[in-house]
C-alpha cells in the first residue's frame, strides 16, 4: 500500500477573487488573475503531468511535461508558466501534446536508472509518469552518456542523495532558496553535465541546515529519508503538531504498522498547516527518534531516599505513594507545603488537569509552569499594555510587514520555520532591524541583510527601547490619531519619554549602540507603513523583562502599529505549548484565561463546577518554591516535563532546594537531572502518544493526535487525575475532548473550541468566542482587549548584576538550531552530529588578553559558580560579551547564572551574568571536557 501524497496543484495559490473563467479540456473553472494554467487545470479536475512544478515553489518551466495547447496561442506553452486569461480554452491531451510528453519522458528515462529503488518504494514520480504518458521503451538505448553511476552522498544523518535518480528539476535548489532561505544547493556545471550539489561539497560539510525542504520537494528518490530507504514507504499517516518550539508546525506522521507495533518512518510537514505551510526544520522534521530511545523510561519507580537505587513499581503503588506522601506533608506542614509545576511540553488538556489537581486536590495555588523561566514577562507586560497575555498577530501577518524589528530573538536557530518566513519577506523587500548583542544570522546571511544591527549591551534593553520611543516622540513621528482614539495615559507618557535622559545620545553610554543608528532605526520603524516587532527570550529573561515588554508595546502604540496585518508585538515562544500552558491557568495567581484568583465570580465558577473551595491568594512561583523549600515551609513538589535542576538558574541553589524536600515527584520521558533528586519517578509520554491540543505563539490551537498508544500505559492527564483521586479528590475524564469541553465551558476566550471542531475545521486562534468563528488571527483590531491600550512609563533600572574587575565579562545564553533547550530530546537523536557540545563564544580581543585560542578549554566563573567548556573565537560576539548554549547537562551553564530575576514575574535573568573566563590549564578539566564531549557524540 502506498500512502496517498498530499494534493499538489503545481503552482502556488494566487490571492484574489476568482474572476477569470477558463475551460480546461471542456471543464469550466474560475480562478484568480495570475493563476497558472497548470493550477487551473488541477482545480478543474484535469491534472497535467509535470515534474519540476510543485505548489510550494514558483513556476520554473524546466521539465516541459506540462505543455498544453491553447486556442489562439502559437505552439505548446508550458502550463506552469502561462497565466490564465479570461475566456481561455486549454487542451491538455491533444495528439501533439501527448507525443511531446512521450518524447520528453523518453529523454528522462534515458538518463535514469532502470532498476531505481525509488520506484520500488513508490517515492519516485518518473516511472509513474512514464506509464501515464505512455512511454514503453527508451529508443535511445542505454549505452549513451548518463549519470546513473554518479556517486551518492550519505553524510547527512537523516537523508541520502542519490544523483543517479536525479532529474535536475531544481526543485530541491529552489526549495532551499525560496522556502528555507539557506541557498545551500545549486546546480553545478551546465548542459548535459548539470548536476545538483550542496555547493561542491557533501551535505554535512555544506551550508545545509537539514530542514528537509529539499527532500520534501524532490519528485524522485534522489533525495530521500534514510528511514524510507531502510524501512520502505509508510502506509498510513496521522496529522499532528510538532512538540519542539513555539511555531507549532503541523506534520504528517507517516508510519508503518498499527497500535503498539507502530513504527514512525518519517515526519512530513503538512501543507495545510497554517503555522508552517508545509515547511519544517531539522528538529521537527527529523529529530523524533528520542521517542523510541532506549533511555526512555517506561515504568514508575520509587525510592525512599535519593541516594538509594530506584525500584520499579506498579502505577497504583506509585500513585498511592505520591498521594500519601503529599497528604502526609500537608498534615504536618500545612496545605501550602506542596505544589506542582506543569509543563509547556504537554498538551493544554494535560496542563489544565495538573493545575486543577493542584488547586482542587492540593487545595492551594502553588502551581507554576516552566513559562515562568521564559515568557512570564510577556504575559505580564502584554496584559498590562493590551489586556491580553499573548502576541497580537498570526504568523501570516509577517508577509505584510514592511519593517521588522527583531529584538532578542534568533529565529533562524530557535524558530527556524518562522525565520524562513521572515527571511522570505526580507528578500521580497522588507527592511530589517536586529537588536541583539550578537551578530546573529539574520544580521547578514545569504541574500538577507539587516538595515541596522543594534548590538544592545545585555541588560540595557529598556534604555534602548526608551531611546527608540524618545526619537519617535521628539521627532514628531507618532501616530497622534491612534493615540487619541485608542490609548490611555498618553500625555504623562509622552512627557516622560521626551525627557533628555532617554535620548539616544544619552543612552549610548548605557546601551553601547551609536545614537545615530538608534535614530535611524526609530525612523525606519515609525515610517512603516507596517512595522512589526518580534522578540524572544533576549527581551524577557532580564531583571527588567516585564518593563521591556511594556516598552515595546509603548513603541508600537506610539506609531499605531497594532490591529492590522503586518504590525504588532509578537513573542516567539520557546516551547511548543508555552502559550497554552499559560492560557490553561498554570500561573499561581491566575485561573484559566488569565483571570486573577482573587476575582470572586471566576473562583465561584470553578468552585461550583469542581465542588471545592479555592484559595483566593496567589500561590508560590517556581523560585519562591525553591526559597520556601530551603526555608522549610515547602516540602513536596510534583514536576512534570521540566528539568528544573538543569534549566533553572543558579544550579546549586536549585539542588539545595530539591534536596531539602521530602517528596519530589518527577514525571518525564527520561531520568533527567531533576530525577536525581526525586523520590518518585513517573514515566511520561511523547507528543507522538498524546491526544489533545498545543497552542503556538500565534495563539493557534493545533491538534495533537496519537500516532501510537502510550508506551507507559497512561496519559499524563490520567496520572494527574489518579493522583488527585488518590488524595481524596475524585477526578476523571473519559477523553481529552471532555477536558477541552470543560475548558471551553469555563473560559470565554475558548468558548468555541472543541476537539471535534478542530478535527473537522482545522486549527483555530483564540479568542474563539463562539462556534461560528475560527478565532482571531489579529487582535486589538478596533479596540484593545482592555479597552484602551495603556502607555506605561518604563523607567530604566539597571540590573544589580554588574561587571567588575573580578567578573569583567557578561555571559548571555541562547539556543542553537539543531538542539533544543536542555537537549533531553535532541541529544538522543543524530542532531548531535551538528552540535556535540556547548561552546563558549568569545570576541577575539577578549580571547587575546586572556590567552584563549579557539578550541581551548576555559573555565567560566561567576559570583555563584563555575564550569568548564571549550571556547570558540567568534566574530558574532561584541567585545565584553560571551555566549553559550545550555543544551548539554555536562556544561551546566546554569551553574553560573544567578538568582536575579524579573522584578514583576521572577523570570530569571539568564541573559546577564558577570563572569570571568580563564584558560583551564588543569589537566583534569581538559580531560573532563573531552570525556563529556566523547560521551555526547557516542550514539
Amino acid at each position: 500500500m502506498i500512502l496517498a501524497p498530499e494534493p499538489d496543484l503545481g503552482t502556488p495559490a494566487v490571492p484574489g477573487d476568482p474572476t477569470l473563467s477558463v475551460t480546461v479540456d471542456g471543464q469550466p473553472v474560475h480562478v484568480a488573475p495570475g493563476t497558472s494554467v497548470l493550477r487551473a487545470a488541477g482545480l478543474a479536475g484535469v491534472p497535467i503531468p509535470r515534474l519540476c512544478a510543485t505548489d510550494s515553489l514558483a513556476a520554473f518551466g524546466s521539465c516541459r511535461l506540462c505543455l498544453v495547447e491553447i486556442d489562439g496561442v502559437k505552439g505548446t506553452p508550458a502550463s506552469c508558466t502561462t497565466p490564465c486569461v479570461d475566456g481561455m480554452s486549454v487542451a491538455t491531451r491533444t495528439p501533439q501534446v501527448d507525443a511531446l510528453r512521450r518524447g520528453v519522458m523518453e529523454l528522462y528515462l534515458s538518463d535514469h536508472p532502470q532498476d531505481c529503488p525509488g520506484c520500488a518504494r513508490g517515492s519516485c514520480e518518473v516511472q509513474r509518469l512514464a506509464a501515464e504518458v505512455g512511454v514503453a521503451e527508451v529508443r535511445y538505448g542505454l549505452g549513451g552518456a548518463s549519470h546513473v553511476d554518479d556517486a551518492g552522498d550519505q553524510t547527512n544523518p537523516y537523508f541520502a542523495y542519490d544523483p543517479a535518480a536525479c532529474i535536475v528539476c531544481s526543485r530541491c535548489v529552489r526549495a532551499c532558496g525560496e522556502v528555507q532561505g539557506t541557498f545551500a544547493l545549486t546546480v553545478a556545471g551546465r548542459g548535459f553535465d548539470s548536476r545538483i550539489t550542496p555547493g561542491g561539497t557533501n551535505f554535512l560539510s555544506s551550508e545545509c541546515v537539514s530542514c528537509g525542504a529539499c527532500v520534501q520537494a524532490c519528485p524522485t528518490s534522489a533525495l530521500e529519508e534514510k528511514a524510507v530507504i531502510e524501512l520502505g514507504m509508510p502506509t498510513r499517516a496521522v496529522v499532528t503538531t510538532c512538540a519542539y518550539c513555539g511555531v507549532g508546525c503541523s506534520f504528517r506522521a507517516e508510519v508503518q504498522g498499527e497500535g503498539a507495533d507502530t513504527q514512525v518512518v518519517r515526519m512530513v510537514p503538512w501543507k495545510e498547516g497554517r503555522a508552517n505551510e508545509g515547511h519544517s526544520c531539522v528538529k521537527g522534521r527529523f529529530a523524533f527518534g528520542y521517542a523510541a530511545h532506549p533511555d526512555r523510561q517506561r515504568h514508575p519507580m520509587v525510592r525512599d531516599r535519593i541516594d538509594e537505587p530506584w525500584r520499579r513499581v506498579s502505577w497504583d503503588e506509585a500513585i498511592a505513594r505520591v498521594a500519601a506522601g503529599f497528604r502526609d506533608i500537608q498534615a504536618r506542614h500545612g496545605v501550602g507545603a506542596i505544589g506542582g509545576i506543569s509543563s509547556s511540553r504537554c498538551t493544554n488538556e494535560d496542563v489544565y488537569v495538573v493545575q486543577k489537581m493542584v488547586r482542587a486536590a492540593f487545595g492551594n495555588n502553588n502551581i507554576d509552569t516552566c513559562a515562568r523561566v521564559c515568557h512570564s514577562p510577556t504575559g505580564y507586560g502584554l496584559n498590562q499594555a493590551f489586556g491580553t497575555s499573548a502576541g497580537t498577530q498570526d504568523f501570516e501577518s509577517a508577509d505584510h510587514a514592511d519593517v521588522f524589528l527583531v529584538i532578542g530573538a534568533n529565529p533562524t536557530d530557535a524558530h527556524p520555520v518562522f525565520g524562513s518566513r521572515l527571511k522570505r519577506r526580507v528578500r521580497a523587500g522588507a527592511q530589517l532591524i536586529v537588536a541583539d548583542p550578537r551578530r546573529i544570522d539574520l544580521v547578514r546571511s545569504a541574500h538577507v541583510e539587516a538595515a541596522y544591527h543594534l548590538p544592545v549591551r545585555p541588560g540595557t534593553n529598556v534604555a534602548f527601547v526608551n531611546a527608540l520611543a524618545h526619537v519617535v516622540v521628539t521627532e514628531g513621528l507618532i501616530d497622534r490619531a491612534f493615540l487619541a482614539a485608542r490609548c490611555e495615559n498618553v500625555e504623562p507618557y509622552l512627557q516622560f519619554i521626551a525627557g533628555p535622559e532617554h535620548s539616544p545620545e544619552a543612552t549610548e553610554q548605557i546601551t553601547g549602540i551609536p545614537a545615530s543608528d538608534v535614530r535611524a532605526a526609530a525612523r525606519l520603524y515609525a515610517a512603516g507603513p507596517a512595522s512589526a516587532i518580534y522578540y524572544g527570550l533576549g527581551v524577557t529573561e532580564h531583571s527588567q523583562g516585564s518593563t521591556m515588554v511594556m516598552g515595546m508595546a509603548n513603541l508600537a502604540m506610539l506609531c499605531g502599529m497594532l490591529g492590522r496585518p503586518g504590525v504588532g508585538v509578537n513573542p516567539l515562544r520557546g516551547q511548543n505549548n508555552v502559550q497554552g500552558s499559560c492560557d490553561m491557568g498554570s500561573f499561581p495567581h491566575e485561573l484559566p484565561g488569565y483571570r486573577h484568583v482573587s476575582i470572586p465570580e471566576v473562583r465561584h465558577l470553578y468552585e461550583d463546577l469542581w465542588g471545592v473551595t479555592l484559595q483566593a491568594e496567589p500561590g508560590l512561583r517556581i523560585p519562591n518554591m525553591f526559597d520556601s523549600a530551603i526555608s522549610g515551609s515547602f516540602r513536596g513538589l510534583f514536576v512534570q516535563g521540566e528539568d528544573i535542576a538543569q534549566s533553572d538558574p543558579n544550579t546549586q541553589h536549585v539542588h539545595a532546594a530539591l534536596e531539602a524536600m521530602e517528596l519530589v515527584v518527577v514525571q518525564d520521558l527520561f531520568l533527567n537531572e531533576t530525577a536525581r533528586f526525586a523520590h518518585v519517578f513517573l514515566p511520561g509520554t511523547t507528543f507522538l502518544e498524546k491526544d489533545g491540543t498545543f497552542t503556538n505563539a500565534e495563539r493557534r490551537l493545533g491538534r495533537v493526535r496519537p500516532v501510537f498508544p502510550s508506551v507507559v500505559g497512561k496519559d499524563e492527564w490520567q496520572v494527574a487525575c489518579e493522583i488527585a483521586t488518590a488524595m481524596g479528590y475524585p477526578m476523571s475524564y473519559a477523553h481529552p475532548r471532555e477536558i477541552m469541553a470543560e475548558i471551553a465551558a469555563t473560559t470565554p476566550t475558548f468558548a468555541g473550541v472543541s476537539l471535534d471542531r478542530l478535527d473537522a475545521q482545522g486549527s483555530m486562534q483564540w479568542p474563539v468566542r463562539d462556534d461560528s468563528s475560527m478565532g482571531t488571527p489579529i487582535m486589538h483590531v478596533d479596540e484593545f482587549v482592555r479597552g484602551r491600550g495603556k502607555l506605561t512609563e518604563t523607567v530604566y533600572v539597571p540590573t544589580t548584576e554588574r561587571t567588575t574587575r573580578r567578573f569583567p565579562l557578561i555571559l548571555t545564553t541562547g539556543r542553537i538550531l539543531s538542539q533544543y533547550n536542555v537537549g533531553a530530546q535532541t541529544r538522543r537523536t543524530p542532531n548531535s552530529t551538528w552540535h556535540p557540545a556547548d561552546v563558549l563564544e568569545i570576541h577575539a580581543s577578549d580571547a587575546e588578553v586572556r590567552g584563549v585560542h579557539s578550541g581551548d578549554v576555559v573555565e567560566l566563573t561567576s559570583r555563584v559558580g563555575s564550569t568548564t567548556l571549550r571556547a570558540v573565537i567568534s566574530e558574532r560576539m561584541p567585545p565584553g560579551v560571551v555566549y553559550t548554549t545550555f543544551h548539554h547537562p555536562v556544561t551546566g551553564a546554569n551553574v553560573v547564572t544567578t538568582d536575579n530575576s524579573d522584578w514583576a514575574t521572577n523570570c530569571p535573568e539568564y541573559k546577564v551574568t558577570a563572569v570571568q573566563v580563564t584558560v583551564a590549564t588543569a589537566l583534569e578539566h581538559t580531560r573532563g571536557v573531552e570525556a563529556r564531549a566523547a560521551a555526547v557524540v557516542a550514539p
Binding site: A59, F60, G61, S62, C63, R64, L67, G75, T76, A78, C80, T81, T82, P83, Q96, A99, L100, G103, V104, L107, Y108, S110, D111, R139, Y140, G143, G144, A145, I167, V168, S170, T186, V187, G189, R190, G191, F192, D193, S194
Partner: protein, 535 residues
C-alpha cells in the same frame, strides 16, 4: 591634416589585428612624418590589414596582405601609397588587393547602404570629438528636445526590428517598458555575439562605440531608464576595451552621467563581461548573468520589458539595434523605413564568413538574395570550389543548399522558406563539407552550451549527438537500425523544437533538419528524390 604630414589609418579591429594590423601600425608608427590613426575596420576583411592613406583624392586603401599570403613592409606600403595618391592605380579594383584606390569607391563598399555602420573604419573610435564631427550625438540632441513618448513613436515609425535574431519591433518593446511600473529601469545592450559567422556587433563596438552609447542614451530617455549595461562576451577583449574607453570619454564629454548636457536625462552605462557561455546571448539568460547568477534561461512570461534585470522593467536590445537608433532620431523614422521591403524595414548588416573569397561586413537594404550576397559580393568560395551549402543565421540557422540560394534575405521570406535570418551571419561552405558531421556538430554545440535547465535541450542534445553518431556510422551500409535512428532523430527534433524552453533547444533542430532534408546523401539516404544533392 597638417601640411607636410600624412595621416595613415590602420584598423585596430580585432580581425585586422588577428592578421597583423598591430605589426603594420607599429612599423608605420616609426615614420615620423606620418600621423597614425587607429580606426575600426571598413569590413573588407579579406583585405586586412587594410591601411588607408590620406590624399587629395580621399582615403586611399592598401592591403598589407599580399596575394601570396605574405605581409608587405611599411616601406612597400608607403611607396605604393604615394603612387596611388598621385595617380589612380590601374586595375586597382579588379585586383581586390594591394592598391585598393579610393576606399569608398571599392565596389564591395560602393554597393552597400551604410546607415548603422556608416562611420565604421572611418572614425577614430577613441575620439568623442571625431564621433561628433561625423554626425555623432545629433540623434540624442534631437531626442532630448522631444518628449520621451515621441522618441518611442519615432522608433516605432522607423519599423526597426531587433537585430539580435528574433526581429521583435523595437519601438513596441520600448513602448512596453515606457508604460511599465514606475521606478528603476534598465537598458541592456546585448553584445554577447556568440553565433558563429557573426561579428558585426564586435566591429561596431570596436569601430564606432559611441554610436552604441548614443543609442542607449536615446533609449534611456525614451523609456525612463537611468542605468545601462553592455553585456560583452569575454571572447571580445578588444570590444570590451573600446567600449570602456568610449564610456569614459562620453562621461567626460557630458554625454553620460547626471543631467546629460543639461537635460533631464541622467543615465550611465557599465560594461559587463561574460564568461564563456553561449546561452548568455539569450536575453533572459543574459539578465541572469548580469545579476551574477548562472546563465539559466527564464521562462516567459514575465517578459523582460515588464520584469527584467533585478525584476525591473528592462529594454534588452542587440548592439546593432541600439546603434541604429541615433540615425533614426537624426534623420527621422520615416527615412529609415524607406529602406527595405515589406515588414523588414531599413538595412541589415550581413556578415559574410566561412569559406568565402571576399568575407566581411555588408550593410544593405533588406531584400538581397543569399546568392547575390555570397556570389556577387562575396565572390564565391575562398577555396575556389563550388558552393555546397550556406548556413544563414548562426549555429541555429538552416543549411541552405546551393539550389535554394535565391531566397531574399528578409524576415518574412526566410521564415516562409523555413529558414531564419537571425543576426545576419552568412557562412559559406564548399563542396567538401559533410553535412552529416555538421548536423552532429549542431547537437554537440547544444549539448555543450545548453544552460541545462530544460529537459529537451539538456538531455535531448546529448541524445542527438549519440543518435547521429549511430546514423553516421551506418550511413555507408544503412539498414533497419539506421532507418530507426533517423526516425528517432526526427522525433527528437520535434521534441526539442516544440518542447524546449528557449530558442537554443528550439532551434538546434533547424540546422539538423535542414541538413537532413537538403543533403540526405550525407546521412546515407538516397539523394535522387531530394533537391540539395551534391552538384
Amino acid at each position: 591634416m597638417t601640411a607636410g604630414r600624412t595621416t595613415v589609418y590602420v584598423p585596430g579591429d580585432a580581425a585586422a589585428v588577428s592578421v597583423g594590423a598591430d605589426d603594420v601600425a607599429a612599423a608605420l608608427g616609426r615614420h615620423p612624418e606620418l600621423d597614425l590613426v587607429r580606426t575600426g575596420s571598413r569590413g573588407m576583411l579579406w583585405l586586412e590589414p587594410l591601411v588607408e592613406v590620406d590624399s587629395e583624392r580621399g582615403r586611399i586603401g592598401l592591403s598589407a596582405f599580399a596575394p601570396d599570403g605574405t605581409m608587405l613592409s611599411a616601406e612597400t606600403l608607403l611607396s605604393i601609397g604615394s603612387a596611388a595618391a598621385t595617380a589612380p592605380a590601374v586595375g586597382e579594383h579588379a585586383a581586390y588587393s594591394l592598391g585598393v584606390g579610393r576606399v569608398e569607391d571599392h565596389p564591395f563598399l560602393a554597393r552597400q547602404t551604410r546607415v548603422t555602420c556608416a562611420r565604421l573604419g572611418i572614425v577614430d573610435p577613441t575620439s568623442e570629438q571625431d564621433y561628433a564631427a561625423h554626425g555623432g550625438w545629433v540623434g540624442l540632441r534631437r531626442a532630448l528636445t522631444m518628449a520621451p513618448a515621441a522618441v518611442v513613436e519615432e522608433v516605432v515609425s522607423s519599423g526597426l526590428r531587433g537585430r539580435g535574431g528574433a526581429g521583435f519591433p523595437t519601438g513596441l518593446k520600448w513602448r512596453t517598458v515606457a508604460g511599465a511600473e514606475p521606478g528603476l529601469r534598465f537598458v541592456c545592450a546585448n553584445a554577447d555575439e556568440g553565433d558563429s559567422g557573426t561579428f558585426a556587433d564586435r566591429m561596431l563596438m570596436e569601430g564606432d562605440p559611441f554610436a552604441l552609447l548614443e543609442g542607449m542614451a536615446i533609449c534611456a530617455w525614451a523609456v525612463g531608464a537611468t542605468e545601462g549595461f553592455i553585456y560583452v562576451r569575454s571572447e571580445y577583449p578588444h570590444a570590451i576595451a573600446a567600449m570602456r574607453k568610449a564610456i569614459a570619454a562620453a562621461r567626460a564629454a557630458g554625454w553620460l552621467g547626471t543631467h546629460v548636457h543639461g537635460s533631464a536625462l541622467s543615465f550611465d552605462v557599465e560594461v559587463r563581461v561574460g564568461a564563456g557561455a553561449y546561452i548568455c546571448g539569450e536575453e533572459t539568460s543574459m539578465l541572469e548573468s548580469l545579476e551574477g547568477r548562472r546563465g539559466e534561461v527564464r521562462a516567459k512570461p514575465p517578459i523582460p520589458a515588464l520584469s527584467g534585470l533585478f525584476g525591473r522593467p528592462t529594454v534588452v536590445n542587440n548592439v546593432l539595434t541600439l546603434a541604429t537608433v541615433p540615425a533614426i532620431l537624426a534623420d527621422g523614422g520615416e527615412r529609415y523605413a524607406a529602406h527595405g521591403t515589406d515588414r523588414s524595414r531599413g538595412t541589415q548588416a550581413f556578415q559574410l564568413g566561412g569559406n568565402v573569397r571576399h568575407g566581411g561586413l555588408v550593410e544593405l537594404d533588406f531584400g538581397i538574395t543569399v546568392r547575390e550576397l555570397v556570389e556577387d559580393i562575396g565572390g564565391g568560395t575562398r577555396s575556389g570550389r563550388p558552393i555546397r551549402a550556406v548556413q544563414v543565421g548562426g549555429p541555429l540557422g538552416a543549411y541552405l543548399p546551393a539550389k535554394l540560394l535565391d531566397v531574399p534575405l528578409t524576415y518574412e521570406a526566410m521564415a516562409e522558406a523555413g529558414f531564419m535570418l537571425g543576426h545576419g551571419g552568412v557562412v559559406v561552405f564548399d563542396d567538401t563539407v559533410d553535412l552529416g558531421r555538421m548536423a552532429r556538430f549542431a547537437m554537440e554545440f547544444c549539448a555543450k552550451e545548453s544552460c541545462g535547465k530544460c529537459t529537451p535541450c539538456r538531455i535531448g542534445s546529448q541524445r542527438g549527438v549519440e543518435t547521429l553518431d549511430r546514423i553516421l556510422a551506418d550511413r555507408a551500409h544503412p539498414g533497419p537500425a539506421h532507418a530507426a535512428g533517423l526516425s528517432l532523430l526526427t522525433d527528437l527534433c520535434t521534441t526539442m523544437e516544440r518542447g524546449s524552453l528557449c530558442a537554443m533547444g528550439g532551434l538546434t533542430p533547424m540546422p539538423v533538419r535542414s541538413a537532413l532534408t537538403h543533403f540526405p546523401e550525407d546521412f546515407g539516404l538516397d539523394s535522387a528524390a531530394t533537391p540539395g544533392g551534391r552538384p
